[in-house]
């Protein structure tokens, strides 16, 4: 979650109210005439070497510039060819790819097997420092079979391999990359993508132009907008003013209360995303000496929390209460699980049964969640006698405390890297690693099986068992799936996607 300097409340209200009154009669003039899409982000994009980027802003730009071997069509859920024309598993740990011919990089170089081999073999080395080890640590080596054929040797079974190859691992031009490395790619990004970068002030401004030589048959083909101009404008209120005056066409991550005020003046679209909010309970914290270690207490806490009201009040849009520790949009996220309806009597009974009829006191850290949501949870729990000591912290401090087993409850969110597969959320929290404070051996076994099996049915069966058990044991209180509000020029056609990767190559003017 990125945080920016934002000033909420009265000011926003005043600005919006004033702007409405003042902009009456001045229609928004988008940059339709010059066919330029003007975009603003609140946070600064990172240097444009995809392998080192964590933030969505940089990744979105990178996906316009670079292509991966495969691509996932989110409308159909299908993996489709991109730089690779076809692929197959030739063994349990080997995949072979036939590459597309006639593809050109922005610098005129031809795309061949050398580019795939050089790029992937470089980014898997620990010295390279790829940001998320989970994205490349399953690759052992990449071999060139001929100019348009490569083989990937996997270091371990990994069910997410194909998902990762679908646009998350871009291919760089080998000669340029070998010579200039990560810093060179960031300074002069060269890819095969539908847009090429023509200039940048890193973190501040980026100018892209449609790449006329983008390969035929690309899943990213069909771009109609000539130029994309991206700026960083940290203050959301300034973004609203620019959007309403027509000097911006595309902004996002507008808080729900402000989205409803902007509605009618500009296009507002709310779209659900992979990210979900959760309260993690840690039976392992304080060496087990915590009320949370009792299953009945955990169940009582969920019964006592009016999650429906919290979603309605603070999340809005396309958000809904969840019963699962994963997003229903993800593969393997079983929905037939124990649900805990809002029922304070039941909660009190369960607490009494567990020996806490008079309630207890407990610390809960929340990070990267709006304060009102945490306060609402605390208020609900106070009704059944449980006193939450709320503590807002940076995500890094909060998760550090969680890993140190000093925290019975942690309220935060997880984005699954925008990937629609349960593998990218459950294993981290229940697979036995540092973030797993449940340490349920049965869960870990199921999850390992589900994460590595190549048979989809085996995977979904194992995830189903895991999800059911997590719900039954009440290891998590799942809160809701997030949504993102986009603010668009009235002249713009744009379709958002749940992975939060804006696809401007698919945008057009009305």
């Amino acid at each position: 979650m990125t945080q920016t300097f934002s000033i909420k409340g009265l000011t926003s209200l005043a600005v919006l109210a004033a702007s409405t009154a003042l902009t009456l009669g001045t229609p928004a003039l988008a940059d339709k005439a010059s066919n330029t899409l003007n975009v603003a982000f609140a946070a600064e994009p990172e240097p444009l070497d995809t392998y080192k980027i964590a933030g969505r802003q940089g990744l979105i730009l990178a996906r316009h510039i670079y292509d991966g071997l495969l691509y996932k069509n989110l409308d159909t859920g299908e993996i489709v060819p991109a730089l690779a024309e076809s692929w197959e598993f030739t063994g349990p740990l080997t995949m072979e790819f036939t590459l597309r011919q006639g593809v050109k990089f922005h610098n005129g170089a031809d795309f061949t097997a050398d580019d795939v081999v050089e790029t992937l073999n470089t980014v898997i080395t620990p010295e390279y420092g790829t940001r998320y080890s989970i994205s490349v640590d399953w690759i052992d080596s990449v071999e060139k079979l001929d100019d348009y054929k490569v083989r990937i040797n996997m270091s371990k079974p990994f069910a997410g391999a194909v998902e990762m190859l679908a646009d998350a691992l871009p291919i760089y031009p080998h000669a340029f990359f070998a010579e200039n490395g990560s810093a060179g790619m960031a300074a002069t990004p060269i890819g095969t993508g539908p847009y090429k970068l023509v200039s940048q002030e890193p973190g501040i401004r980026y100018e892209m132009e449609r790449f006329e030589g983008h390969y035929e048959g690309s899943p990213k083909s069909g771009a109609t907008i000539d130029k994309i101009s991206v700026r960083t404008i940290p203050e959301m209120n300034t973004q609203y003013a620019e959007l309403m005056s027509g000097s911006l066409d595309w902004i996002w991550r507008i808080p729900p209360d402000q989205a409803s005020r902007l509605e009618g003046r500009v296009q507002i679209i709310s779209a659900p995303i992979m990210r979900i909010g959760y309260v993690g309970f840690a039976p392992e914290a304080m060496a087990g000496d915590t009320p949370i270690a009792d299953k009945r207490v955990r169940q009582a806490l969920i019964h006592a929390t009016n999650r429906g009201a919290i979603v309605d009040a603070f999340a809005g849009g396309a958000s809904e209460v969840l019963n699962t520790p994963c997003n229903p949009a993800q593969f393997g996220c079983e929905q037939d699980v124990t649900a805990y309806e809002y029922d304070t009597e039941k909660a009190k009974a369960l607490l009494a049964e567990a020996g806490y009829a008079d309630g207890f006191k407990m610390e809960m850290v929340f990070a990267a969640m709006p304060r009102p949501t945490a306060e609402a949870v605390a208020a609900d729990l106070a009704n059944v006698g449980v006193t939450l000591e709320l503590n807002e912290q940076q995500y890094s401090s909060g998760i550090g405390k969680w890993r140190a087993k000093e925290l019975p409850a942690f309220f935060s969110n997880w984005g699954s890297y925008g990937i629609g597969d349960t593998a990218f959320i459950l294993s981290n929290f229940f697979g036995g690693g540092a973030d797993d404070l449940v340490q349920d051996a049965e869960l870990a076994t199921w999850l390992t099986e589900a994460d590595t099996a190549s048979d989809r049915d085996v995977r979904s069966e194992n995830y189903s068992m895991a999800v059911k058990k997590i719900a039954e044991e009440a290891y998590w209180m799942p809160m809701y799936n997030f949504n993102v509000n986009y603010g668009l020029s009235n002249d713009l056609n744009f379709t958002p996607h749940p992975d939060e990767f804006a696809r401007w190559w698919g945008a057009s003017w009305r």
Binding site: T4, A14, A186, E242, M244, D435
Partner: protein, 306 residues
């Protein structure tokens, strides 16, 4: 005079060192930088790799000495977020902040000093009342609110100036107005009170009595004495304008040092944060030292025993 200056410089150096050591320690108190850099999707393994790669696993004192050692040779390290030398980033961003800070300061002085003098000449007159209104509202209105209102009125409604960014000089108009508005009250009030004191002294009465025109009384006799506290305050104000423009830079999307510092703090880009703190504390110290020296030049009584 020489020993006065060298004493001041020694104190200045100690202040810089203390600030840098304190800020270095505070940054580690605020959270584990390795986890922060790994980001909200980072697994414990990613954080471990980062901890080793950037040397966060070493004792804090060793890390600090390492950093201050390089800093003394002019090497401020690499930005973790941008992966380029810190000096390069700061070089790119300093221009905006310096331009904004100095222009706002000049604008503030040009408005505050005459207004303060005029107010002092007729206490409780209409100029004095007007000055009081400006001072009170300047201190009371939050800068982000004033900035946003200025954007709505002059950017959105009238369309006279760009709403954000500093691509053209017009982009500086609103930020300079808003920023200088906050420096004006203090400068004006101190000029006014200084002038009122001085105007009541015998030598001013004597100057008036010998028939000197009022503007000469003010410029030759009164202002020179009233200006002493103004010089000290100006140094502090200029330092604040240069280091305290985070809000203004955010509202107007100016990419200066203030915003860089704030964003770098949020993403735990420690080398950048450290460098900016060092530079700003140096700047403060240089400015206040300069003010002390300037005051000593203007007023021999301040030079102490020598």
């Amino acid at each position: 005079m020489l020993s006065f200056i060298s004493k001041r410089l020694l104190v200045a150096l100690l202040v810089c060192l203390t600030v840098s050591a304190l800020s270095f320690g505070l940054m580690f108190v605020s959270g584990d930088p390795a986890i922060a850099i790994a980001g909200s999707g980072g697994r414990a393994e990613d954080a471990e790799a980062i901890r080793v790669a950037y040397g966060f696993d070493r004792p804090l004192v060793v890390q600090y000495l390492d950093w201050i050692g390089s800093a003394l040779t002019g090497n401020l390290g690499q930005s973790i977020y941008f992966n380029v030398p810190v000096t390069e980033i700061i070089g790119n961003r300093a221009g905006v902040t310096l331009t904004l800070g100095f222009i706002s300061f000049l604008v503030a002085l040009v408005i505050a000093v005459p207004l303060g003098v005029a107010a002092a000449l007729r206490p409780n007159g209409w100029i004095d009342r007007l000055a009081l209104v400006i001072a009170v509202s300047g201190q009371a209105i939050p800068s982000f609110w004033l900035g946003l209102m200025a954007i709505v009125v002059f950017g959105v409604w009238y369309g006279w100036v760009p709403i954000s960014g500093a691509d053209t000089w017009q982009g500086y108009i609103l930020p300079v107005i808003v920023l200088s508005y906050y420096a004006i009250p203090e400068l004006m009030r101190i000029t006014r009170s200084g002038m009122i004191d001085v105007l009541a002294t015998d030598y001013v009465r004597a100057a008036k009595a010998k028939g000197l025109p009022m503007h000469l009384v003010i410029s030759r006799h009164a202002l020179r004495n009233a200006v002493l506290p103004l010089v000290s305050l100006s140094a502090v104000q200029l330092g604040q304008l240069l280091s305290g423009s985070i809000v203004i830079e955010s509202v107007f999307a100016l990419n200066g040092l203030g915003r860089l510092a704030w964003e770098s703090l949020l993403r735990s880009d420690l080398p950048v944060v450290q460098a900016i703190i060092l530079i700003l504390s140096l700047l403060y110290v240089v400015l206040t030292t300069l003010a002390d020296i300037l005051n000593a030049v203007l007023d021999p009584r301040l030079r102490g025993g020598s």
